[in-house]
Symmetry: C2
Subunit: 581 residues, 2 copies
């Protein structure tokens, strides 16, 4: 490719609303252009990257036995009503009415359509397993689109869906996909982690996120440097601390804490570590009668250490809370605690509540909690002595760095990641409401067991940039660079030698299948180099009159601090060696 036949458009300044490096650099490098909030044109330079991402994903999906199809962008609402998502999806689902006032959605994913296909096409267990995928435009009307392609509204996703005869087979299909994802992300040349994620009602180890490591990532990734344990924050288990509960050393006391309604304020006032405080969360569950009306309600008190964060996914798995819960009303809190939030605690209740202690709280001694009286806290609180041992102890909190690793092989560390893939066993979540069945060996209809597998095709370039950039611009991994090699001739319009050498090398590399661009725009060297450093082409060769006289061209990798002189006749072989490495 020659630059004069391509579309290159770089900017000195990024737009003011570009907050993260990938957004700034993709705008400056002319890879994307904003059309509306969260809606971007993929400009020629950016589209080349996206096409390379697509090609690698497609190749590995095919290798893993998945078969490509393309489902419509605009989908009839009827199917979404069958699955319950037309109502359930919320305002992120873009809804449309056609000229006949029929309802449609712009697909955010395609579970409904693929399940509809499966229930028509798959009749017998003999046709299973099956895996169908597409690489197609999606739309989610995000509340807060931002960061360019990182959290856009319109985006391209690879979404695959597996169909199996039973859960065991579904897990095998899941494993094939998880393995394919590792091959895909290895080929991208990115540092990533596959982290365990919550798998909802299915349970077990059947949901993983693929996270590109980057300080700017929106997600916290928990991992153990001494083992291969890795999970996302929702999923990472907080073990009970090692060792027994310390012996009480303090007497129970009601301590004035006027105007100090948070654990932080109380710890500061009393001059104690925040980790000696315990915070209270009051929830409620309702029992419904046959008529769907609330028959009775139960109030719950959850206790977590003052310096820990409650984990909503974990709370939703506590026996008794796993069928749904809500925050308690002010009236309920008043009725049970005789006090309002800020000074709540488990002592001196007006009416009994169901108490759940976090594993950490259950082994604390001499702790501090609200006194159920405005402007007072209890200090020196101890289980067994001041209140009964907790009946229910559960993991209720987010892990923190330094927690024991759940696999017992060291302590946890936390880093930031960008989710670019997700593999998930869905079970019968869609096949049941949509009645997608097959006949088993006995001729009996069974629901299809499904899995779904996504890769954010247009998010991936952004994640790659967050991980690979410097003050001059992007540094692409070879596999997904818009061009692998750029040839920068100096004074091509003045020197026949330079022009001939550049054209010859261009032709030689093209013939060898190298994705090379010859910059024949006639820019001055400074501007030309700045452009390619911004755009982030990994391999650069400078062709100059002086170099040709010396019989040498200058090679420089985007990460190198200096150029390497390479004899003219050896440059093509040298480059091929670099690319094979």
């Amino acid at each position: 490719m020659k630059a004069s036949r391509f579309f290159i458009s770089t900017l000195k300044e990024a737009p003011a609303d570009a907050e993260v490096a990938s957004h700034r650099l993709m705008m400056r490098a002319g890879m994307i252009k904003k059309l509306g909030t969260g809606i971007y044109t993929y400009m020629p330079m950016g589209l080349r990257v996206i096409r390379k991402v697509e090609a690698i994903v497609r190749e590995e999906m095919n290798r893993a036995g998945a078969v490509e199809l393309t489902m419509p962008v605009v989908q009839p609402a009827e199917l979404w009503e069958e699955s319950g998502r037309f109502q359930g999806y919320g305002p992120e689902l873009l809804r449309i009415k056609d000229r006949h006032e029929r309802s449609f959605v712009v697909q955010p994913t395609s579970e409904e359509v693929v399940t509809d296909i499966a229930r028509q096409e798959i009749r017998s267990y003999k046709q299973l397993p099956r895996n169908l995928y597409q690489i197609q435009t999606k739309f989610r009307d995000e509340r807060r689109p931002r960061f360019g392609l990182m959290r856009g509204r319109e985006f391209i996703m690879k979404d695959a869906y597996s169909f199996d005869r039973d859960l065991e087979s579904a897990k095998a299909s899941y494993k094939i996909m998880a393995d394919a994802y590792r091959r895909i992300f290895d080929r991208f040349g990115l540092r990533y982690r596959a982290v365990a994620a919550d798998s909802g009602a299915i349970g077990g180890d059947v949901s993983q996120e693929f996270q590109v490591i980057a300080a700017t990532g929106e997600d916290a990734i928990v991992y153990c440097p001494e083992s291969d344990y890795a999970a996302n924050m929702e999923k990472a288990e907080a073990l009970a601390p090692a060792g027994a509960r310390p012996v009480p050393t303090q007497a129970l006391a009601k301590t004035p804490t006027p105007g100090k309604a948070t654990c932080e304020e109380v710890a500061e006032l009393l001059g104690v570590p925040l980790s000696t405080t315990v915070k209270s969360l009051v929830l409620a569950t309702d029992k419904l009668g046959a008529d769907g009306q609330v028959e009775s309600s139960q109030v719950w008190l959850l206790l977590v250490r003052g310096d820990h964060d409650m984990n909503e996914i974990k709370v939703s798995k506590v026996p008794g809370l796993d069928q749904g819960f809500r925050f308690a009303t002010n009236a309920e809190i008043d009725e049970h605690f005789g006090c309002q939030p800020g000074y709540l605690g488990p002592l001196g209740l007006k009416r009994p509540v169901k108490l759940v202690a976090d594993r950490e709280v259950a082994v604390m001694a001499d702790w501090i909690t609200g006194a159920n009286e405005i402007d007072f806290h209890m200090t020196g609180v101890n289980w067994g002595r001041d209140l009964p041992e907790p009946e229910l102890v559960a993991d209720l909190r987010n892990v923190v760095a330094g927690d024991l690793s759940p696999d017992g092989k060291g302590v946890l560390a936390i880093e930031r990641g960008i989710e670019i893939g997700h593999v998930f066993v869905l079970g019968t979540k869609y096949s049941k409401p949509m009645n997608a069945t097959f006949l088993d060996e006995a001729g009996k209809p069974q629901f299809l067991e499904m899995g779904c597998y996504g890769i954010g095709i247009t998010r991936l370039p952004a994640a790659a940039i967050e991980q690979n950039n410097d003050e001059r611009g992007i540094i692409w991994p070879d596999a997904i660079a818009p061009f692998t090699v750029v040839l920068c001739p100096i004074g091509m319009d003045r020197s026949a030698d330079v022009r001939e050498a550049a054209e010859a090398l261009h032709g030689e590399l093209l013939a060898a299948g190298v994705d090379v661009l010859l910059d024949d725009r006639g820019e001055r060297p400074g501007a030309m180099f700045a452009d390619w450093e911004l755009i982030g082409v990994p391999h650069r060769v400078v062709i100059s009159d002086r170099g040709i006289k010396e019989g040498q061209l200058e090679y420089q990798h985007r990460r190198d601090t200096a150029a390497t002189k390479v004899p003219v006749a050896e440059v093509a072989a040298f480059i091929k060696g670099k690319l094979a490495a």
Copy 2:
């Protein structure tokens, strides 16, 4: 590819709503699946065809210097308001409101977005010419979607847009595209015609449609078998007939034609050819005052031979009608003709009208027209004698087979076609309202001269099938077949010889870059052959125990009536020879 790893799903019966061969056969061959009216999933077998179409289009577009980008499917309404199309497009434009009640459209084409990009990116004449294209999902909310992919609502289109400094350069860009289109359609292996189309306000020879010839086509194509003249019906010029007007032989007479309000009825009643009758069309034009109100109106009478059809595009180019016209009201007709439609004519008017005679009518003698009196026609009408020679003579009608060719090289023929491509010089239709300018050599802003170039990517397979099918199914041209070659082993599960020969040939052809499928499903021969004849793979090799014993495999092209025996060792070379041919 092996069939066991692919998704094959054929049907014995087509759905009842499939009216044309391509729709029926694509459904039966499992290439598409209906999701809603005019909305289809491209199933794996169909997607392979579409991808091949895309690849050929992409290669030739790139070769022609166009650069690919991808514009959003969901586009903000603001841009469409700038161009005037948000109001002007009509109900085919799918309109959406997002969660913030902002208006969007699902793109039917992308002139607005690409013009917006151009006005930001193109600053100087030095950046011109430019051609940007995309291959992307489009949506048109057709009033009557039908014929499967032929007239769907969601479809894939390649749309390219050129930008030039002046009309001359725009015409050069147009020619480059028209040439690229010929290469593309040649590669598809289809019989097609590039036909001149109407180019609206631009004028000149700057609009062509590419039509795949098929008896089921929706469009009439006019061509001259003795020359390369070809045009669509809207554009094809009807010349004045050769020779002078015949001498009058009949006297003018008022003839009773009770209840006969059409030319057909009158000709039948009087026992004369329909070609001796003349029909009247009454139009009106309005002159507006400074306040936008109608100041005065002019009534027009257009005359066309009874057996000819009025051509609205041609009417809209008649001087005086070219700024817009409407049908005359009943009141206007009554005021000028003293009669209502069915018996109107140019004789005995109550008030003068502006008369336009079709070229053919202008040289008629002894013709028949309405008497401006219910139940009466005038016969033996002659120009100059019974009414003044027509002041305005114009081409007002569709050509018919046998008309003189406009290039003077013979007579015209008419066949049916399916429009699969269109190249068009747009001029400043979008750049003016959207203020897309560049600076010329003098530093003066000038409007960009644009062209647009479409190919219906998903319509093309349907058109190919309309042209290439028989009672057994589809017959794909090699270039866009879902698979080029299918290997049909008989008894692969029973015979190790068959299995080994099939696997070896499969491997050998794959290594040679042939797109080959090995049918390892274990179907019985009859069902297997029927499937592949339905799906339309052009080249088939049957591998049987008997053949192997004889040292021969059976090759058959989808169009062949019998198989050719080829020595086992020569089959791969034989196939490669067939594909190179």
